[in-house]
Amino acid sequence: MKYAMLVLKNLMRSKRRTMLTIFSIAVSLFIFSALISLPTVANELLADTASSVRVAVHNEAGLTYALPEAYRTRIATTPHVVAVVGESWFGGIYHEVSDSFPNLAVDPEQVEPMWTDWDISHQAFEQFRKIRTAAFVGSGTMKRFGLHVGQQIMLRGTVYPINVTLQIVGTIGGKAPPNFLLFRRDYLEEALKRPGMVSIFWVRVDNAGSVHKVIADIDRQFANSSAETQSESEGSFMRSFMDNYKAFFTLAEVLGLIVVLTIGLVAANTAAMSIRERRGEIAVLRSLGFSSRLILGLLLTESLLIGVIGGVLGCGTAFLVLKAFSSGSPAAGPLSAIRMPPIVLLETLAVAALIGLLSAFVPAGAAARRSIVDTLRAVG
């Protein structure tokens, strides 16, 4: 600790350089942490569904092919099935195409036992069963458009030639995707005057162990019918959606890596510069009896401090910015669901510390080992 003043004094010696280095590390780690938040959030969502007891049943031909509504009762009688909810894609838009969010119509009866993990109160579920135009809205979408429970909103159909007017009765929270809107399928069917078709049946099974058995049972039941089914666990269903964006996630990760490389170069350069200028002093310290190891330690501490301060500034700002983004502005578009998971904060700080240590390692090592006599003579 008694060397703390020495390290601080050295950092303050060239204030401008220290500030510039800290800022460039901060700026780079800001973008790094924001970039890797994207794939990390996606992976966390997938990990959450791994233990899910829900199964998605859709037409084997693809999601645009419907299934007959009558399948519901047949699925419900399959052993281990606890609840079945039919779901249809509505694809309505609230204001404009560019600010759209997923909206779906679901059978109201068994929504409560199906999504117990969505933090919806019993009263809200009750209202959803009572009010024909009821809707649940994801917390992200609520914030983004400044909506509140009790409000009426209208969605303009793009897939179907109708508009629906809905009354918000509850907020979807918990582990649900934050941007969904759910309303009642009986209301949609009535508006369409074309009852009977469903895009997906969500099936809840009694425990995670019976997921595979139920999947096989359901698909066997409808094999060789005019609408064959493909059942998937919730995790694999989500994964097939996310795979669409895989290239995007890979890009974010690669960019993140390049950012770290770039900042590594920058930091190494500054560390080398600042140590080179101090060769004479280092030789003097050593001739006074400071060991090479102590000097190496002091130089590394200095550089570590620069890295960590930059890291804290960078990911702190990114955390706040993402928080501001996800809590509102429609300008964020599809990124509105992004947030920074704690693991990313830790990763960024670790990267910051590594940048600090590694960047100074070579020049500091060289300076600490250099022959005292030569150095003192060269400096004169």
Binding site: L63, T64, I93, V97, G157, D243, L255, L265, P334
Partner: protein
């Protein structure tokens, strides 16, 4: 009189390691810029190239994409003889009713992905003038036959001529491969309109109609007619307009890429400033000598700015060179406007390269300005005295 550029180049070479590290940082920023822009350009042009300026597309009113549209055969019959629509030499109107549906297609190496299966009539080949069969033959609309877009072959299984694919509920025999000048149609499978309607079990309907406009036809008048005629009642748009809306994903990506590159550039500018400040500090005596020789303060400042600019532009060239191997690389991703997978290639265009070099130059000037001004302000006597 200006200080010769040679002085700057040699100064940069004296501090080899430091110069290389600073240049490396800038080069990586430039490379990121080029790669992201090349990806966006490829994605964007793949969508936009799908349109022809003299084509009009009509969908059900209120629909934003053709995959979310449906209308009756009568509506098509009512529009196809409109005077604004071009006729072929047999007098047949060049109006192509289409039924695009999303189906799952098996990938090479497992898994399935959404692609578009487009039901068309033979007239489609005349309306979409970029589409031509490069191998095999056209499908027979009376049979479950299909032709496959060239871009699908690398990514999906069973696309070759003679094989049978399962798409939707049915099986389709591949009889031809088509090229569409790099546009998004190359990520589609085309088959007979009626066969596709049968497959979806949604009855007889079309989702869109693409019309080739007669030379000199007024597109605004045609759009009004399509909307106002009660027998037609459709929403028309020229293809370039329609496909521009489909590529909102590209413009969002472009904005994101710019933002990332810009923030990285701020970091790189700080780094360049550090290097240039060190250069000025290390060469105080030289600056004094130059001034004593009669070079003006402006010449000194110009010289240091030029040095920073040289460093940045050289780094920019390296960055562009680093990014060049990405040119032509194919990839694919989901367009969440159409919910189907689009295969496309990175395109490093000349415009992107020029922008990248300008970007590098701006970084150089921004990083060099303050240190250069400091060099200019040194007093001759002080500079010479300091050792």
């Amino acid at each position: 009189m200006a200080i010769p550029l040679k002085y700057n180049v040699r100064s940069l070479l004296v501090r080899r390691v430091s110069t290389a590290m600073t240049a490396g940082g800038i080069a990586l920023v430039v490379a990121v810029f080029v790669v992201v822009m090349a990806m966006v350009a490829g994605f964007d042009s793949t969508i936009r190239d799908s349109g022809s300026p003299d084509n009009m597309i009509a969908v059900r009113k209120g629909s934003t994409t053709e995959t979310g549209s449906a209308f009756s055969l009568d509506q098509f019959e009512a529009l196809k003889f409109l005077p604004q629509i071009r006729r072929d030499k047999d007098g047949q109107p060049l109006a192509s009713p289409e039924v695009p549906v999303q189906v799952l297609m098996e990938k090479i190496g497992g898994g399935r992905e959404n692609i578009v299966l487009r039901g068309v009539k033979p007239v489609a080949m005349k309306v979409h003038d970029k589409v031509r069969i490069v191998e095999g033959r056209m499908f027979d609309p009376a049979l479950n036959e299909a032709i496959v877009g060239k871009a699908l072959l690398k990514r999906y299984a069973n696309g070759t001529i003679g094989s049978t694919m399962r798409l939707g509920r049915g099986s389709w025999k591949v009889v031809g491969i088509f090229d569409a000048a790099g546009s998004s149609f190359e990520s589609e499978v085309w088959a007979g309109a009626q066969k596709v309607q049968d497959d979806t079990q949604r009855g007889s309907y079309y989702a869109s109609v693409v019309m080739k406009m007669a030379p000199g036809a007024d597109s605004a008048a045609l759009i009004r007619r399509l909307a106002d005629d009660p027998r037609i009642n459709l929403q028309g748009e020229t293809e370039p307009d329609y496909y521009r809306d489909q590529s909102v994903v590209a413009s969002q990506l472009r904005r994101l890429g710019m933002l990332v590159a810009l923030i990285m550039a701020v970091g790189a500018v700080f780094a360049a400033m550090n290097t240039m400040y060190a250069a000025v500090a290390g060469r105080t005596q030289e600056i004094g000598t130059l001034r004593a020789l009669g070079f003006s303060p402006g010449a000194v400042m110009g010289s240091f700015l030029l040095e920073s600019l040289t460093l940045a532009v050289a780094a920019g060239l390296i960055g562009v060179a680093l990014a060049l191997p990405f040119n032509g690389l194919s990839t694919a991703f989901g367009n969440y406007v159409t919910f189907s997978t689009l295969s496309f290639q990175f395109r490093v265009t000349l415009a992107i390269m020029i922008q990248a070099l300008l970007f590098a130059a701006v970084m150089g000037v921004a990083g060099g300005f303050l240190p250069a001004r400091q060099a200019m302000r040194l007093s001759v006597v002080d500079a010479l005295r300091r050792s």
